[in-house]
């Protein structure tokens, strides 16, 4: 029985294109939690995230032959998911903010992992804070800070330049700081220093 991670992603994709009925499923299952995370955090709505992930999965299944190996398979998969999520955000742009029902469902979903209370609390706050960001900034921050992709890979995923990724992440972090500073209390001895918001540049 092969270990997880073998065969390599690219090999699984090659087998899929060659007609192997199981290869894509194995590849997708291997990455699906991370793909779910990026969809959920970008969309902040579990229903929409599930729809986007389904669209992305079908798209990747059908377009696997287009993969040219310029990036890692996982980068390619994330790119398709992020595109599907941002497409949905564009389509619902006219729609007002989430309803209370959506929010509860989201928090229930996010909280259901059964992690220790502190982590759970943190995540609720982080997720609430993420909603404050414009979608492009949110997607960049999720991919770089939460999923740990390099700026170069994030640029490939987000279909933009590394400079733009850095800029979006920087603005997003600055925007989130006042909302997340209290969560850093037990990380260091720094008390809640109020950010120098009023100063000049």
């Amino acid at each position: 029985m092969p270990d997880e991670g073998w065969p390599a992603d690219q090999e699984l994709l090659r087998r899929h294109v060659a007609g192997d009925a199981e290869a894509f499923g194995e590849l997708f299952r291997r990455h699906r939690d991370r793909l779910w995370a990026v969809a959920l955090r970008t969309l902040c709505d579990p229903e929409e995230a599930a729809d986007a992930l389904q669209d992305a999965m079908v798209s990747a299944f059908r377009r696997a032959g287009d993969f040219r190996g310029e990036s890692a398979v996982t980068t390619w998969l994330h790119r398709i998911v992020v595109n599907a999520a941002l497409d949905r955000l564009r389509r619902r742009a006219a729609r007002p903010a989430l309803s209370a029902g959506d929010e509860q469902a989201f928090e229930a979903l996010v909280a259901q992992d059964g992690d220790p209370a502190r982590t759970s609390d943190t995540r609720l706050d982080v997720n609430a804070a993420l909603r404050l960001l414009p979608p492009q900034q949110r997607a960049a921050l999720v991919v770089v800070d939460m999923l740990g992709f390099s700026v170069a890979d994030a640029a490939a995923i987000l279909d933009t330049s590394p400079g733009t990724v850095k800029s979006r992440c920087a603005r997003a972090r600055a925007r989130l700081l006042p909302h997340l500073a209290h969560l850093q209390g037990n990380r260091s001895d720094s008390q809640s220093v109020s950010p120098a918001q009023g100063g000049d540049t």
């Binding site: 997708f28 599930a50 999965m57 299944f61 603005r171 972090r173 220093v193």
Partner: protein, 285 residues
């Protein structure tokens, strides 16, 4: 120099401010506790975000994606087979990728060799083939073709598994075409769980069974939907994570696929609790 703005510090940290301006910021940070604290907090944002574990995909979403994927796989196999038939019948060049599925409907109906493929539609129209009373409806030419093919192509009997006792080595590997008439369910005793499912299924397939029953209409619809026309290898009652479920194994290509169908699975509700592929050697000799 006045204190640093959060945005400026964030850009500086991201490497977007260099040169003389960057040097000024570095110098200011060296002598300003307030801005150093702010800088620490900005670094803390990334640390905090990185510390949040990725939410696991909910089971409901995983099931839904598994079902959609199974349907995609079945559609593609269907397309490949029909394309193969077309290639055999005519020397027309094969169309690379892309639109290969669009002419299938005609082929399914017209080509006798592909008639069984109608049942392999992986969810498309299957509920029409299996009527509410469990009878195959002959309301479409596709349905008739499928029934005719199922009746004539069958030489390996109606049962999908040995009636009792441990299956002989290799017995489960004999491909058996779906007929819409009866599906035999082996009464099994396995209690399966998600981790290492493939090995557990392997063990279950080689464990003694205590009898068989005939699948009720709902289960038959479920099995036909999941197998998507692929040769059924085994249908067995099991428990999955403590709940009653049905193990469905079909030869879906070089390897077999095993689905764990929930109790409410039917032709119109392909509720799958888990799915795994069985590597060669499980059903092979």
């Amino acid at each position: 120099m006045t204190h640093l703005d959060t945005d400026v510090l964030a850009e500086f940290r991201a490497g977007l401010i260099t040169g003389r301006r960057g040097a000024r910021i570095t110098a200011h940070l060296a002598g300003c506790d307030r801005c150093t604290a702010l800088d620490d907090q900005l670094a803390g944002v990334s640390v905090l975000l990185a510390s949040v574990p990725a939410p696991a995909m909910p089971d409901s979403v995983a099931r839904r994606l598994d079902t959609v994927l199974a349907s995609e796989v079945a559609s593609r196999d269907d397309a490949e087979r029909a394309r193969g038939d077309r290639a055999a019948e005519s020397p027309a060049p094969r169309r690379p990728g892309g639109n290969r599925g669009f002419r299938l409907l005609t082929l399914r109906v017209l080509a006798p060799a592909a008639a069984v493929v109608v049942l392999a539609a992986g969810g498309y129209g299957l509920s029409r083939l299996v009527g509410p009373g469990g009878q195959v409806t002959a309301s479409s030419s596709a349905g008739s073709a499928a029934r005719a093919a199922a009746g004539s192509a069958e030489s390996s009997g109606h049962a999908y598994a040995p009636a009792a006792g441990p299956p002989a080595k290799g017995a489960v590997s004999r491909p058996q075409r779906i007929t819409p008439r009866t599906i035999v369910v082996v009464t099994g005793h396995a209690n399966l769980s998600r981790a290492g499912l493939a090995q557990q299924v392997d063990a279950a397939l080689h464990a003694p069974a205590s009898g068989t029953t005939q699948a009720p209409d709902q289960l038959r619809g479920c099995v036909l939907r999941l197998a998507g026309g692929h040769p059924l290898q085994r249908v067995e009652s099991v428990r999955f994570e403590g709940r009653p479920a049905t193990l469905v194994v079909a030869r879906t290509g070089a390897d077999d696929t095993a689905w764990i169908a929930a109790q409410d699975c039917s032709a119109t509700n392909p509720h799958v609790l888990a799915v795994t592929s069985l590597l060669s050697g499980i059903s092979g000799p």
